[in-house]
């Protein structure tokens, strides 16, 4: 019989780490700003279902694509309430909903007529709270 070369026990580990690093780097590169899709994987906001029966949507997050139609309120704590018109193919006309933007987005300039992609969460009373916004 031939003699096998002896393998170092650290080698597989090093290989694995290298792979991870490479993958992570690739991922980071892929998700660099301007290169990663906003709220990817989030379900689009079901406007029809929301109107018909929002109870099942409470606590869930959805991606809503819509246009700000009106600023309804500007709170003293820098929270803002908007009317958001969401286009839903299941509806014959856009669905206007109330959107509460928290104070953390206070520096974000949101004006009537602007299009946004908004990661929203449906609260217990049926109000959409913005988790993340991205201007379209």
């Amino acid at each position: 019989m031939a003699r096998r070369r002896s393998i170092s026990p650290l080698r597989p580990t090093l290989i694995g780490l290298a792979v991870l690093l490479i993958a992570g780097g690739a991922l980071a590169w892929m998700r660099r700003p301007g290169t990663v899709e906003f709220a990817a994987g989030t379900q689009p906001f079901p406007a029809r279902e929301f109107l018909d029966n929002f109870f099942g949507l409470r606590g869930n997050r959805y991606l809503a694509q819509g246009r700000i139609t009106e600023q309804l309120r500007f709170g003293p704590d820098r929270r803002r309430l908007f009317a958001l018109s969401i286009t839903d193919t299941s509806l014959t006309e856009p669905c206007e909903v109330g959107l509460l933007v928290p104070a953390s987005f206070g520096s974000l300039n949101i004006q009537t007529g602007q299009e946004f992609q908004i990661l929203v969460e449906v609260d217990q009373e049926g109000l959409l709270r913005a988790i993340d916004l991205k201007k379209s």
């Binding site: 109107l51 309430l81 669905c95 909903v97 009373e125 109000l127």
Partner: protein, 615 residues
């Protein structure tokens, strides 16, 4: 004033008072059967006794006055009753009646100066005694005979007293002689011891002689006293007998028993042949004034005789006039003439023998006349008018002007008060209504318009109560639309009732609001703003959920704006359940469907404030 006018007065007063009027005036006031007449009109008490102490009658107005009170002669209920009874009674033409009249006539002839042998008192008394048995005489002839007997007894007594006085005269003469005889020398001459030598009487002798003379003087005085007393008795008895007989004559005259009065007067003259026929009236009495002031002379029995004869003649003439007027169908005048004759000579032959057929012609008229008087007295002018028309047809001389004037005056005044009551009823012045109805009823209680009006007021009162009750019910049901629809009916019912007026005004104001909204909604519908119209109606329906007009329009409009209405409905539903977010979404949706929606705008504002209060 002539005795003729006084006569009916005295006769009228007889039913009122039967007191003898010879020696004193009327002592008692007139009885209650005298009804003061308003038509005659009372006048101020005159200064003369006539109309006061002495009854008088005014033939022009047929008013008798006594003690300051007035009576309409023809209006006396008692008189009317007696007259009607007379008219219905048969003529007194039976054999018995004729026999009575023959007896009375025979008695008067027996006392006539032309009677052979002069007045025969005994025959007269015999005949009157027989006449007293007839009912019509009322035993007056018997009273006459009693008076004659009293005079006879007086005369007998007077004769006895005369004989007694004659006897006393003789006895006086005897006593005077005895007195002269008993007076001796000692009593008639002074004692002497002179030439005759007779010794002077002793004192004892003188005393005895004076005692005897004294006894005779005493007897003379007694006899004279007795004679004077007897003479006085005769005089007073004669006066008393005359007075009593005269009292009866006057009483018979006042009772209208003229035939008996004539008989009594003639018996008086026959019994008291001294020619003194003056009535012995109490000086200053009313009856004396009656005769002196009316005739100007002292009354006498002959005057009464003449007045009685005159009265009989007057009665006969009255009956003749009645007969003539009946033939001419002048029933009113005929009844008046017969009435006057009846008042005076109820017991006179002419009156008693008047044919029943003739009386029957005026009987109906008189009865209707009395009924008319009663109807006017009790203010039954409907009946009065009927009677006036009937009497006009039956008697061509019936003077209907007075009753007609009374009827028309009462009718006009009563109607005027009813008109005022109607006006007050419209003005809801219940007090004025009651006052005017009371006045109208007082004037004409049986006014048919009054009854109809009273019934109308009563039923209106009931109806009014029902209407107000209906109003209360509808208000409780909030059925304002029904009230609005019948507003005219309710407006009339609440007049004068502030509480109900306020209620109705409130309802009308509320319905007014609805109507304005409905009208605005209709205008919006006309211009195609169905959603806006629906909004207005939807808003007002919260206050008036059962208003048919609103609900009908809402139902129609809901078919024309389904999306908007659905959005609003959902928004409200979620808002009511405190689901502000979803509610806001629906309001936004509703605004999109109808941008002018006030509900959506208010809803959005409301919820925005709730989610994110600005302060």
């Amino acid at each position: 004033m002539t005795p003729r006018i006084l006569l009916p007065v005295l006769l009228t007063c007889l039913p009122l008072s039967a007191n003898a009027q010879v020696f004193d005036g009327p002592g008692n006031p007139p009885s209650s059967s005298g009804t003061p007449s308003s038509s005659g009109g009372g006048s101020a008490p005159p200064k003369s006794p006539f109309g006061q102490e002495v009854p008088v009658m005014n033939p022009g107005s047929e008013i008798a006055s006594w003690n300051g009170q007035n009576w309409n002669i023809s209006d006396q209920r008692l008189y009317r009753a007696r007259f009607e009874k007379y008219l219905a009674a048969p003529a007194a033409t039976t054999a018995q009646d004729q026999a009575y009249r023959d007896l009375m006539l025979g008695a008067m002839k027996a006392l006539s100066p032309n009677n052979p042998g002069g007045p025969n008192v005994a025959k007269c008394v015999t005949l009157t005694g027989q006449a007293a048995d007839h009912p019509i005489d009322a035993r007056l002839c018997d009273s006459l005979n009693q008076a004659v007997y009293s005079v006879v007894l007086f005369k007998k007594n007077a004769k006895l007293l005369g004989e007694m006085n004659k006897a006393l005269e003789q006895k006086r003469k005897d006593e005077a002689w005895n007195l002269r005889m008993s007076c001796g020398p000692t009593t008639t001459q002074p004692p002497s011891t002179g030439a005759d030598g007779k010794p002077a009487p002793t004192v004892t002798q003188q005393v005895n002689e004076f005692s005897t003379a004294g006894g005779h003087i005493k007897k003379l005085v007694e006899i004279d006293a007795t004679r004077v007393a007897n003479a006085a008795k005769m005089t007073s008895a004669e006066l008393k007998a005359k007075v009593e007989f005269q009292a009866m004559i006057v009483q018979l005259f006042l009772q209208r028993r003229f035939e008996h009065c004539i008989l009594a007067s003639r018996l008086y003259r026959a019994l008291f042949e001294d020619g003194d026929a003056g009535l012995k009236l109490k000086e200053g009495s009313d009856v004396e004034k009656l005769f002196i002031q009316s005739t100007g002379v002292t009354p006498t029995v002959s005057a009464l005789d003449a007045m009685a004869s005159e009265a009989i003649r007057d009665v006969d003439e009255g009956v003749q006039a009645f007969t003539y007027l009946i033939e001419r169908n002048e029933l009113e005048s005929a009844s008046k003439r017969l009435g006057e004759a009846f008042i005076m000579g109820e017991y006179m032959p002419k009156i008693r023998t008047l044919e029943r057929e003739k009386k029957a012609k005026v009987s109906e008229f008189v009865r209707e006349g009395n009924q008319l008087i009663s109807a006017i007295d009790v203010k039954d002018y409907t009946l009065a008018e009927t009677l006036v028309e009937a009497m006009r047809k039956s008697a061509k001389d019936f003077d209907y002007s007075k009753p007609r004037a009374a009827i028309e005056t009462a009718r006009s005044t009563s109607s005027l008060h009813l008109m005022q009551a109607r006006s007050a009823a419209i003005a809801k012045d219940d007090k004025a209504v009651a006052d005017n109805i009371a006045k109208a009823a007082m004037i004409w209680p049986t006014n048919p318009d009054l009854k109809a009006f009273s019934t109308q007021v009563a039923s209106y009162g009931d109806m009014n109560t029902r209407v107000l009750s209906d109003l209360d019910t509808l208000i409780a049901q909030k059925n304002y639309r029904e009230i609005f629809r019948e507003q005219t009916k309710y407006a009339g019912a609440v007049l004068g009732k502030p509480e109900y007026e306020t209620k109705l005004k409130t309802v009308m104001d509320e319905v007014g609001k609805v109507e304005r909204v409905v009208m605005a909604a209709d205008e919006m519908i006309k211009v195609g703003d169905h959603a806006g119209a629906w909004e207005r109606l939807e808003e007002i329906s919260k206050t008036f959920p059962d208003d048919n007009e609103i609900n009908r329009r809402r139902a129609e409009l809901s078919r024309k704006n389904p999306e908007f209405i659905h959005a609003i409905t959902e928004a409200r539903r979620h808002e009511d359940n405190a689901r502000t977010g979803i509610s806001l979404s629906w309001y936004l949706r509703a605004r999109r469907a109808y941008p002018n929606s006030l509900m959506a705008k208010q809803g959005i504002e409301r919820l925005s404030d709730k989610i994110l209060p600005e302060k």
